[in-house]
């Protein structure tokens, strides 16, 4: 009954995953710092200037408002904002050694469902480090772009008019080669044909999905330019290269998913390594 599989594949391939804009409110912003009220106020002002999206209600939590992590989480839940804004290595002094985001931020991104915008850590003099220009180029970063409407919608929300939304999909070459190595040892499967067909299909799905995002953006936000890059490579280095080459101002990535794999995958190493780029962590 291989023909059943054959036709099922044809119809499954024809069932596209179109983009659907999942609008979410970004009205209530909560700024969290481990310094005084003046600094937190400055943090809020500079961030509001950097982002094009409008803040309707601003709340703050300064060093005086919480003593420990549990305390902070409780207050966050009580305030229930639409967006948390803070910086990496909050409440820790190991920001000089970029090997983690810090325990507060690690927990904050996992224990709440509220998106967290992570800014670079302030320098020793207390100056916040923002990109020289306002946020113009936003990139959605994920292991699997197709169908991730929440991620793309959030990235689109943070892309200003005249700005550029980057949608990328890097298929891990190393994993692909490992599977192909196995395929090459199975006599029933023609290796070269499998390589070509699987690679083409892996890249076609995100390409089709990006096309549907482009169609949506052209219809609803025509001043936003959607750029894309879909290909094979080493994810981490490809993303680092793309981010540097295209001077990305804001990264949008998942920290939670159904399988709890996001932080174990590419998001965490990227978030840790790219210390100078603001990151919206969903």
């Amino acid at each position: 009954m291989t023909q059943i599989d054959q036709f099922e594949s044809v119809f499954k391939a024809a069932a596209r995953t179109p983009f659907e804009d999942l609008k979410r409110p970004w009205k209530h912003w909560l700024f969290i710092s481990d310094r005084d009220a003046d600094f937190t106020q400055r943090l809020g002002d500079q961030t509001a200037h950097f982002l094009s999206i409008v803040c309707h209600q601003r709340s703050t939590l300064t060093q005086a408002d919480y003593q420990a992590l549990g305390d902070l989480l409780e207050k966050v839940n009580t305030l229930n904002p639409d967006l948390i804004l803070t910086y990496r290595n909050l409440k820790t002094d190991n920001w000089k050694w970029p090997y983690s985001l810090g325990s507060y931020l690690d927990v904050l991104t996992q224990a709440t469902t509220i998106p967290v915008l992570v800014l670079p850590h302030p320098d020793p003099s207390g100056q916040l480090s923002f990109p020289e220009t306002d946020c113009r180029d936003v990139m959605a970063v994920t292991n699997h772009l197709t169908g991730d409407n929440a991620l793309v919608s959030a990235a689109l929300d943070f892309t200003p008019a005249q700005g550029q939304l980057w949608l990328t999909h890097v298929e891990e070459q190393q994993h692909f080669e490992r599977y192909m190595e196995i395929v090459s040892k199975i006599p029933q499967i023609e290796t070269q044909q499998a390589r070509e067909l699987i690679q083409a299909r892996l890249l076609k799905e995100p390409t089709d999905y990006i096309e549907s995002v482009k169609a949506h953006v052209t219809a609803h936000n025509p001043t936003i330019k959607v750029s894309s890059w879909v290909g094979m490579g080493h994810r981490l280095s490809e993303y680092k290269n793309l981010i540097q080459t295209h001077h990305i101002d804001l990264l949008v990535m998942n920290t939670k998913d159904d399988d709890q794999l996001a932080m174990a995958g590419m998001a965490y190493p990227l978030a840790v390594e790219l210390t100078q780029i603001p990151i919206l962590m969903l």
Binding site: I4, F7, V10, A13, A14, A15, P18
Partner: protein, 458 residues
Amino acid sequence: MTETAHHLVPLSTSLTFLGFLVLMILALAFEEKIHAKKSLIVGLFAIVTLVLGQVFHLLPIGPMLNVFGEKMEIPVYVSAVDWGVITIILGSSLFVDVSSQSGLFSWIAIKLTKASKGDPLKLYIYYALMTVLFSAVLNNVTAMIIVGSLTGVSLKKLNRSNYLLGFLLTQGLLTNVGGLLTLISSVPNIIIGQTAGISFVRFFLVAAPYVAISTFATLMVGKKLFGIKGLTSDQERAEAAKLVASFDERDGIKSHGFFKFSGVMTVLFILAIATTSVLPFVSGLGMGFVALSFAAIMLVRFKASVDQFYKAIDWDLVGFFVALFVVINVMEHAQVLALIGQGIAPILGAGERLGSGLLLIVSALVSSVTDNIPLSAMLAKILAGMDQGKDAASWWSVVFGANLGGNLTPIGSASTLVAVTIMHKHELKLSFVGFIKASFPLAVIHLVLATAYVLIFL
């Protein structure tokens, strides 16, 4: 003693061969249980019966005269095969295989899905009509595979997997109704049509009214039986329309030129097959020639990889036919067919109308538990031996009975077996008895309508 054209055959010999025939039919009925393919089962019986035929000196051995009057050594197992039928099957399946590579059939299927706007009732009706149409143009198994696999994908997309059983069951049964529409829609049609000398156009004109009535009745009863309802609120309609709109019918089309070419060629293929008997120069070459010629023209598109299509041919089916023709030929020489004919004679002797009705019911019951191809091949030979004219209702009794009997059980026809396989693939549990219970009302309606049709109109 029973008498052949060449010699007398003792009754005990005929009964011995009849025993082998019954054994073969039983082995085919339990094909799934004994895990053996049809071609091998019948092939082994062909070998045994050929040897036995030699042992009992039943088979014509020696040179044969060809069309030029020249003597040729053609073994009996070659001359026994109806190569006209084999070439039709080979040519048609190659043609369908190549033309389906154009994305034509999946394009039609997805277009219809989108036209339904995701409404389950409309989808049920559209898919049913598509099943009938595809079964008429393609073979029943391919039609069931195309429509059934799309049904699984689209109902899942629409979150309506609860309707899957009803959809697949209806489609499985309708493949056998649609398989009645033309002379090339199913193998029993080809065998009976070829033997009786029924033309493509006459076959269509006789079968079409029944297919239309039976399809309509199936849809009316099926939607009630399986509780399939249309969408009622605007919100439901909007959501369903959005879901099916995401299907891209162009996805399977690799070349627009070849897609259009396949569409044109499919229409021409049907027209050519329909008019073979009156086409100058071609009529003498037969439908098999037409089918193989169209397949060859289509294969030009894939000239460097035609071997892929040869591999895709259902060689089990072809081998099965070849071996079956050999077995039937041996049975003919052993006077087994004459014996069965004597058994059928009282049925036909019950009067032209009653006899035809009874033959239809008997054919349906037999083909519900075993393959309808040996049945139709055997009955075709027997009826031809009884000098039934090409307009006799008894031919149609076999056509209707052999095709529709498959609807009574899941093993009755290859296409209902495909429907059950797709159900199992989607983890729908349906036992043998469960299938009979679920399909019985519709299968009975088909048979009652067919019997009435044969009795009243033929």
